[in-house]
Amino acid sequence: MTNWVELVVFLVLFLVVTVLGFLAARWQRGGHLEHLDEWGLGGRKFGSWVTWFLVGGDLYTAYTFVAVPALLFSSGALGFYALPYTVVLYPLVFLPVLRMWSVSRVHGYVTPADFVRGRYGSSLLALIVAITGIVATMPYIALQLVGLEAVLRTMGINASGILGHLPLLIAFVILAVYTYQSGLRAPALIAFVKDILIYAVILVAVLYLPAKLGGWASIFDSAQAKLSQPSATSGGKPQGSILLTGSNQLQYITLALGSALALFLYPHSVTGVLASRGRAVLKRNMVALPAYSLLLGLLALLGYVAIAAGVKPVTNNATGRPDANTIIPALFDSQFGSLFAGIAFAAIGIGALVPAAIMSIAAANLWTRNVYKEYLHRSATPRQEARQAKLASLVVKFGAVAFILFIDPQFSIDLQLIGGVIILQTLPAVAIALYTRWLHRWALLAGWVVGMTYGMYLLSIIPNPATGRRHFGGSALTLDKLTILGWHPFAGSTVQIYVGFVALVVNLVVAVVVTWLLRAAGVFNGPDQTAPADYHADEGSPRLKPVADAVAGAPGAKVVASE
C-alpha cells in the first residue's frame, strides 16, 4: 500500500529541488557554461559555505545514510567503522589536499589524472588513473540509486519488474537534464536543501527515538541480545556483537584507514576540492566537515534503534528478497507520523541526487580531459570540451540506471566494494606524487598492475556464507587465506583484514623496488611540468592560471596548446 501523505511531501520537496537545479545555471554565473572550469567546476570560486555543503553532500551520500546503519543492524560494531574513518580522514588529507588545489589552480588541472599527466609527462599513466577513477565511480553512482529506491519502496512504490524501477528512471532523467544544463552549480545549490533536511531529521531521530524506546541502555541491550543469537548461515556462530571481536579488530582498523586514504582519491572528491576558491576555504572546511561525522555516527546508531523497535526490512518486489538497505526508511515509517517520515524520505532521496550529480560530472571530466582530448580529439577547443563533458555526464548517468535496471542491485554493491580497493591503487601516482617524484613513472605503473591484480585475486577468494556466494563475497579477508604465490604466511589465523589495505601495501612495495631498479639503470623519468612553488600558490597569486571566462573571452588565448 502506498502512503499518500509521505508521497506528497516527498514529491513537493523533490519539485522544489528540481526548480533549484534549473535555476542554478544563473547562480554566481561567470561568463558562460561553455568551458569545463564553469560547467565542471562551478567557476572555481566557491566560498567556505558552498564548499562545506557541496563536499558534505558529496562525501556523505544517501547510500552511506542507508547502508551504514544497515550494517550495524546486521553485524554490529564493525559497521561503526564509518566514524573512525571520517575522523582520521581530515587530518590525513589536510596537507595533500591543499597542495592538490594549488598545483591544479596554477596549471588549470581539472582532474587528478591531469595532475599525473603534468607531473610525470605520461599520458599513459594519466589514462590509467582516469580509467581507474571512472570504473570506481560508476558503481558508486548506481548505489545512490539503491539509496533512492530503498526510500521509494518503503513508501509503497514497490512494483515488480521493470515497472518497479520506473519512478527511479523519472527521477534520474530530471537530474540528468538539470545537471546537463547547470553543471556543478546544480548539486552545489541543492546540497543546501539536502543538508538542512538531513540535519533536522537526524537530530529529531536521535533525540526522540531513544526516549520513546526506553533509552540508549535498553537499545544497546536489545541489540546485543539479538546479535548474539546464532545466525542461520554460519554454523551456530553469533551474527555479531556490539563490541569488536578478536577476529574483526584488524578489519575495523584497516577498513577505517583504507577508506580514509581512498576517499580523496575518488574523482568526485577532487572535483569538490578544485571547485573551491582558495586554500583558506579548504582549511576551514577541514575543520568544519567533521560536523557531518558526528551526524553519521549518530545515524549509524539508528541501526540498533531499529533492532530495539523490532523493524523488519521491506521485501524488494523486483528481486523478491528482503532489502537490508530499507531498514532506516522502514524505521522512520514505523516510528514517525507520515508528514515527518515524508520529510525524512525526501532528505535521503535528495541526498542521492547531490552525489550522483557530482560523481557523474567528475567522471565526465575524466573522460573529456584524459581520454577524449588526449586520444580522440587533440585539438578540441574549451567549448568542444565542455560539450563533450555534458554529453558524457548523460551517458554516465544512464549507464548507472541501466546497471540497476538490468543487473541485480547486489552487483553494484559488490562493485562499490571493489571500487574502494581499486581507487586505493592510484594513491602512489596521485597522493605521493604531490610530495615527491622519487617513485619512477614506470614503477608506478608496475605497482598499479600488481596491486590491482593481487587485490582482485584476493577479493575473488572471499566467500559470503550469508548469501551463499563463493567469490567476491566481501572485503574482509581472513589472514589464513592470504597467499603470496602459494605461500600462506598466516596459516590458521582467523583474524580478518581489509583487502584494499593489503593490495596497497603490495603496490607500494613493488613501486619502491622497481623505482630502485630503474634509477640504478638510469631510465628517464619523464618531464615535470610543475615547479616546487606551484604547490603553495594561493588565491591572488600571479602564478594562478586565469579561470574560464577570463581565458575564453580573451582574443588569442590558446589554452589548449597541446604539445
Binding site: 561503526f80 575522523v87 587530518p91 603534468g118 569488536l244 579488530q249 558526528l294 611540468q529 596548446a561
Partner: protein, 97 residues
C-alpha cells in the same frame, strides 16, 4: 593538455616546495583512535551508551581540535592574504591579466 609554455623560474621571494611546521605533527594524533583495543569495552557507560561508542564521538572533537590548531598556527602561510569576505566578482577581476 594544459600550457607547457616555459614559465619564468620561481622568484626567490616565493617559498620552496618543502615546508615543515612542528604543528603539523598534531595531525597524526587522531590516528591513535585506530588502536581499538584501548576502548573496546562496554563500561563505563555514558547515557547508557557503551564506552566503545561514546569515546569515538569524543574522538571526533579531538580530531577537530587538532586540525583547528594546525590551521590557526600555520596561518601565516598564504602568499597573499585574501580575506574570504571578498566578493566573488572582485576576485574574478583580479584574476584577469
Amino acid at each position: 593538455m594544459s600550457d607547457t609554455t616555459p614559465r619564468p623560474s620561481p622568484r626567490p621571494a616565493e617559498r620552496s616546495g618543502w615546508r615543515f611546521s612542528a604543528w603539523n605533527l598534531l595531525l597524526l594524533v587522531p590516528l591513535l583512535m585506530l588502536v581499538t583495543p584501548w576502548f573496546n569495552t562496554v563500561t563505563p557507560r555514558l547515557f547508557g551508551m557503551p564506552f566503545f561508542y561514546w569515546v569515538q564521538f569524543v574522538w571526533v572533537v579531538v580530531g577537530v581540535a587538532c586540525v583547528a590548531i594546525v590551521y590557526r598556527m600555520t596561518r601565516d602561510e598564504p602568499v597573499t592574504n585574501a580575506p574570504d569576505e571578498l566578493g566573488v566578482d572582485d576576485l574574478d577581476e583580479r584574476n584577469v591579466r
